[in-house]
């Protein structure tokens, strides 16, 4: 009797751990709880200056850019591509918006702000069309094709800002990177974009066709899938997401810094996608996973700050944690740890506590 009960529990447990979002969620919750001993009021949310305030709110606030960029990156990676130019596109978008606003006589005019945003997003879409053209039509490898804009894009942004940090003082524009109805505006933008992307890919056939192209490009072609058009769309969408992230970034800073806006964001975005369970080899993607992956990275950055890691050690600490997360997600590594454990030689150090989490099936690679 007891054995059957145990069997059922084991089976339920296994079914649960096989859920795609299970392990990313566990890691996120663990990271959040980890903060409690260091910051007892970590989960407190207060009201200050008419808007919400607290560590969780700050994670959401600063999570806007990584989530948005990772969202677009997810679809690109699902087609077996990659987009390295997202940071540069952010810089371009912010630069265009700030240029339009700072050149206007009345910076607070709504029409000026809307024109600025429209032109900025148009610039982002143009960048996406360029990437899409290079990959889908010219047949350049995605990593090379988008490397071009990674380098050239920042140059374009600097031309737009004429090499200065371009400041603007528009109040309506500040709302994007600020607060609306006591909540960070970024939260609304992110929720809207995530919902839109989910609907776009899962309520239409776009998701299926994206996965089909990423899964087997030649078979898709022979089944009549217009893979060029699909690839074009995902690169444009990815650039659009980066463009919106660029607007948020410049708005929250009150200006455009062509050199630093979105610097290294492509790496965070790729990492978030992979942590969220979308394999770099294409074929399957998880939007929910990507959101959680980006939140894990943002929580990690906040944690480093709140537990008081010295500033010089930030990068090293972050890298170490990311390595551990990636190892955890690697089936080959987990199999090794399990095998080591079976030999009755428990692996030393932190890995020991990590080991029970090993039989996870978050799919990092097929």
């Amino acid at each position: 009797m007891t054995s059957t009960l145990a069997d059922i529990r084991a089976r339920d447990w296994r079914a649960l751990t096989r859920r795609q979002l299970f392990w990313p969620t566990v890691i996120l919750v663990a990271l959040l709880v980890f903060n409690l001993p260091f910051t007892p009021n970590f989960f407190n949310i207060g009201l200050r200056n008419g808007h919400l305030f607290g560590s969780l709110i700050s994670i959401l606030y600063f999570g806007t850019v990584p989530i948005l960029v990772a969202l677009g990156m997810t679809l690109v990676i699902a087609t077996k591509g990659i987009d390295l130019s997202v940071g540069a596109v952010m810089a371009i978008s912010g630069a265009v918006a700030c240029r339009v606003i700072s050149d206007a006589t009345d910076q607070n005019s709504m029409s000026v702000v809307f024109t600025a945003m429209a032109l900025a997003l148009l610039a982002a879409v143009a960048a996406g069309l360029f990437n899409g053209f290079m990959v889908a039509v010219a047949g350049v490898q995605p990593i090379i094709a988008t490397l071009i804009l990674l380098v050239a894009g920042r140059g374009v942004a600097q031309l737009i800002t004429k090499g200065f940090i371009l400041t603007e003082l528009s109040q309506p524009y500040a709302v994007i990177g600020g607060y609306a109805f006591t909540v960070p505006t970024g939260v609304f933008i992110v929720v809207g974009f995530v919902a839109f992307t989910a609907l776009l890919t899962r309520r239409t056939a776009l998701g299926l066709l994206i996965e089909s192209v990423g899964g087997n490009a030649e078979a898709s072609r022979l089944a009549g899938v217009r893979s060029r058009r699909i690839k074009m769309m995902v690169y444009v969408f990815c650039a659009l997401c980066a463009g919106v992230a660029g607007l948020w970034n410049s708005s929250s800073l009150g200006g455009a810094d062509a050199n630093n806006a979105g610097l290294w964001i492509e790496l965070d975005a790729i990492l978030a996608v992979v942590i969220g369970g979308t394999p770099l080899t294409g074929g399957r993607f998880s939007i929910g996973g990507t959101v959680i992956g980006a939140l894990i990275l943002q929580t990690l950055k906040t944690t480093i700050f709140t537990i008081g890691i010295p500033a010089q050690a930030n990068m090293v600490f972050e890298a170490a944690v990311v390595i551990i997360i990636c190892l955890l997600q690697s089936p080959a590594f987990r199999a090794r740890v399990v095998a080591l454990g079976r030999r009755g030689r428990p692996s030393p150090g932190p890995q020991e506590s990590v080991e029970p989490a090993a039989p996870a099936t978050v799919e990092v690679a097929p």
Binding site: A205, L209, S212, G215, A219, L222, A223, G224, G283
Partner: protein, 517 residues
Amino acid sequence: MAQDAPVLTMTGISKDFPAVRALDEVDFRLFPGEIHALLGENGAGKSTLIKVLTGVYELDRGEVELDGASVRISNPHHAQQLGISTVYQEVNLCPNLTVAENIFLGREQVSGPLIRSRRMRHQAAELVAAFGLNIDVSAQLGSFPLAIQQLVAIVRAVDLNRANADGRSRTGVGTKVLILDEPTSSLDRDEVDILFGVMRRLRDAGVAILFVSHFLDQIYEICDRMTVLRNGKLVGEHMVADLDRVGLVRLMLGRELQELEKLEEHDLAGTGTTVLRANGLGRKRSIAPFDLEIGAGEVVGLAGLLGSGRTELARLLFGADQADSGKLELRGEPASLRRGPEAAIARGIAFCPENRKEEGLIPELTVRENIILAMQAARGWARPIPRDRVDQLVNKYIAALDIRPADPEVMAGSLSGGNQQKVLLARWIITSPTLLVMDEPTRGIDVGAKAEIQKLVVSLAGDGVAVLYISAELDEVLRLSHTVGVLRDRTLVARLTNGPDLTVDQIMQTIARGGQS
């Protein structure tokens, strides 16, 4: 020639793979100074035998003797040391290096830390000249046609053995056996002549050459002896002069006695209006210009050996490859497939490719997603097929084709070959095609599934679908087709009307002789 003792004797060679016995008690021998053809259709065991011989695979049972001494070939390097050299279809050299550098790659002549380039160039020039080649050895290998690159590979392989034999390596010997795996498949006639010249030279020097080719004419031109494999078994070793082409084709194809359900005689006369008409359609180096007509409800079977252009012909009709000559008419109207498969599908053409895994299935997607893919692609991404319609279609065809497991949500990659093929068929059937092109739909699947697929073809034709059916099994082609097109050396050589008089033997004769004479 070749009356001495064999240089190589393989006895009772067996090799098992999961679920397949690739080689079953095969005997094989090679004599010094002969060119020996190894023949067989896909899956006959040719590559496995070569891989056992070159140490890529370890044999499960059997004995290999080289010069009378029993050897156990453990890896390709060992094979090389024993004097067994291989040149593969794809040249495994560096196209960015010069001919001389390639020949001496890994054993460059040095004085101290410096490479003696001039001396290497000089020696390389002498070597290629000795093979009757007149090329500039300081030019990049990649700048030469494929045939020359292959010859350089042969020069390198043979010289490597000679250098070993000269005592640099104590275990080394000169080339005893040279294996040429499909060296001519991408060469044109002049290039083949150059290659054959080199092969004859080596043969006369006493090297045993194992030659694999799909071109029967070439076998009869250059080879002295041949060994035929079928389904992993040895079916015969003959002197080329003693066996005519018909006999050879019969040996290669065999006549499979299958317990297939007898298909009811379908109405051979009942073909309707012309669906497809090809006039001089062709593609260079792929398939010679051909004329073909397929009517509604007609099954046209294509017969021919592997590499005879069956697949190439099919791919032109689907726009998977672009024709560079000729015209195509669909239902009486000129049709261009310049936009590729997309355009073909829009005109009602469906295509089940030969390589299910690489060109058909999307393994990461579910059975449901794979089945609706072509239909969905034709509708565009913005008009998803309503979910209840999807479920209805998918469930209907999972049941009708008996796809197992009968679960639309399993990954297609996890299905068996036969079930994967049924998924692909379902994908096309729901698009209601007017022309269905099937390339080897029954290869590698079990007899039961085979019979079901054949029945399906008959019933589709009964519903007025035009079918182009490619199969290596002549019985199958004969059973299903109204008309049989015969291909040989990338040319459609004959169109035979099926009837009580047409037999498998006649098809074999046509394959062997070409045309009806």
